[in-house]
């Protein structure tokens, strides 16, 4: 809004472009702009503030903390399409829990992708937490089953289950994920306490379809948005919050263990205009 002196159609168009350019999507953008028009902003800076307010409101309902179990071990399942940052986010979470003085077990339930187990193992060693793994090609449900027996036996505070990336359009792979969840449910009451969907900030409108399908199949309870340290704005979470009411809990902002921050709707909305 630098150099703008009045609120006119051109300015509204410019704001629309910023939101669409941030992957908010047309439907949600038009809805936000419509609500801002009704507030009758008198100046360019006020218009921008109103937009930030509207977005913060949409996201405020959806800010959330990770669901932690009170007395028993907490089980967190990490899911999402290929390459979004699941394994790396798990490493960051493990480091965070460890720093909080909690005991952590990781389950290498991606038994499919080349070197997936080794990748998680390197992270487990760096963070100095335990890892349960089987051989490549093993049944992810079996790895998960063993992990849950272990946390029950040792009263471990947190179990984080790493799963293979999979496109939400592949029903056999989605069924496999549902089975991993059923193993959690059957082996520990209340588990999985958190099913975290990892979304890449660079993704466009497909993120909505991912969120819908993963929620339908495995009951997603929270989102983590990764790679926000890049040039992409990740505005798709606004559309997801608006249409599916899924809480955004975490932000991944880099490739090291420290690069994990709690999601703040207000900070996120402001950042759209930077």
């Amino acid at each position: 809004t630098i150099g703008r002196t009045k609120v006119d159609e051109e300015l509204y168009q410019e704001m629309e472009d910023i939101l669409i350019g941030a992957d908010v999507g047309v439907t949600t953008t038009l809805k936000i702009i419509e609500q801002v028009r009704e507030k009758r902003p008198q100046e360019p800076t006020q218009l921008k503030d109103f937009i930030v307010e509207e977005i913060s409101l949409i996201l405020k309902h959806e800010e959330g903390k990770l669901n932690m179990s009170e007395e028993s071990p907490t089980v967190i399942m990490v899911v999402g399409v290929n390459g979004t940052g699941k394994t790396t986010t798990i490493a960051k979470l493990a480091a965070r829990f460890k720093a909080e003085g909690k005991s952590v077990l990781l389950a290498a339930a991606d038994t499919f992708r080349a070197a997936a187990i080794e990748q998680l193992e390197i992270w487990a060693n760096r963070v100095n937490v335990s890892l349960i793994k089987h051989q490549p090609g093993a049944d992810p449900g079996a790895v998960t089953y063993d992990a849950i027996q272990s946390i029950k036996a040792r009263n471990t505070d947190v179990l984080i289950v790493d799963t293979a990336g999979r496109l939400h359009t592949k029903s056999n792979l989605m069924n496999e994920l549902a089975k991993v969840r059923r193993v959690c449910q059957a082996q520990l009451p209340g588990a999985p306490h958190e099913v975290l969907l990892i979304l890449d900030a660079t993704c466009g409108q497909n993120g909505l379809l991912q969120a819908k399908q993963f929620t339908e199949t495995v009951g997603v309870t929270g989102l983590a948005l990764t790679k926000l340290d890049g040039t992409a704005k990740g505005g798709i979470v606004i559309a997801i919050s608006d249409q599916l009411s899924l809480p955004v809990k975490l932000i991944g902002c880099g490739e090291t263990l420290e690069d994990l921050i709690d999601f703040s709707g207000a900070d996120f909305s402001r950042a759209l205009f930077e």
Binding site: W123, K170, G207, T231, E255
Partner: protein
């Protein structure tokens, strides 16, 4: 689909003859919405709509008995025109081993695609050497080695402590002495705003003079596809693009954005996690997918 939406717009036109400016505006709006929903960058959409508008105001639509179909046909033609040729031809070096360098953002599918390309080239009678030049990501070298073992095709690595520029440099010597005719470089994923990492790619390019520098881009990339493609192109003068994960339901509008903005050819598409899942790029199929 766009055809259905445009038919609905034109269904309300009872008269023949000149379409009003309002009719054309409604038509263009539907096309704009369809392209934005398909993740085409909004600036690219503006330019594309400008081209369609010119043709929509012309005789071919105004004198057509089925103006909706005619507009869809125009949109389809313009899209295919921008998408370019169907080609999966890779350049060969004039002499010595051909170097193919794969670059891109984190997680786009580079390592998997290196293996897919090796299989493809080996099937065409070439003798490729894969090079593990990602020393950053945990187990990245191991990942390429496992893929190489599965394919029974060779992988060159110098461990995770070596410098990626030294690795690619050494791989050229290795290829020459062992008679590999093609070298495929796997590089670490990186952000375009990471100047040091982008400069590392330039140093690799300088050392190996690749015949092909291919940007590996995730088909579900949204508006940011333009920033990414422009930045890699500015730094490296990329020779082509490989669009991955097209086996999903992402509309793939990033393809139109990259073509409009860089003019680089899309050479291959990744259509699955298996090593066979690499196909040539078909412009007409991509156009149909983007239009929905």
């Amino acid at each position: 689909s766009l055809s259905e939406k445009l038919s609905a717009v034109f269904k309300n036109l009872r008269r023949k003859g000149k379409l009003s400016a309002k009719d054309i505006a409604l038509t263009l709006r539907e096309i704009r919405l369809a392209l934005l929903e398909a993740d085409v960058n909004f600036k690219v959409v503006k330019e594309f709509i400008r081209r369609i508008k010119e043709r929509a105001e012309g005789k071919e639509v105004l004198e057509s008995l089925t103006p909706a179909q005619q507009v869809v046909k125009i949109v389809h033609e313009e899209l295919i025109g921008i998408m370019g040729e169907s080609s999966n031809q890779l350049e060969r070096a004039a002499q010595g081993p051909t170097v193919i360098m794969l670059v891109g953002l984190q997680g786009s599918g580079k390592t998997t695609t290196v293996a897919k390309l090796a299989k493809h080239l080996s099937g065409n009678g070439q003798n490729p050497l894969m090079v593990a030049a990602d020393t950053y990501r945990p187990a990245a070298i191991h990942q390429l080695n496992v893929l190489g073992e599965n394919l029974k095709l060779p992988v060159f690595d110098m461990g995770a402590e070596a410098d990626p520029v030294d690795i690619v440099n050494a791989s050229v010597s290795r290829a020459k002495s062992a008679n590999y005719d093609t070298i495929i470089l796997d590089t670490a994923g990186r952000l375009t705003c990471d100047t040091e990492m982008m400069a590392e790619l330039s140093r690799m390019k300088e050392k190996t003079s690749p015949a092909e520098i291919l940007l590996v881009l995730d088909a579900m990339t949204g508006q940011d596809a333009v920033n990414t493609a422009e930045a890699f192109h500015r730094e490296l003068n990329i020779s082509g693009v490989i669009l991955t994960k097209l086996d999903g339901d992402a509309r793939g509008g990033a393809a139109l954005s990259i073509r409009m903005v860089t003019g680089c050819p899309i050479k291959f598409v990744g259509v699955g996690e298996k090593i066979e899942a690499l196909e040539p790029f078909y412009p007409d199929r991509m156009a149909g997918r983007i239009l929905g």
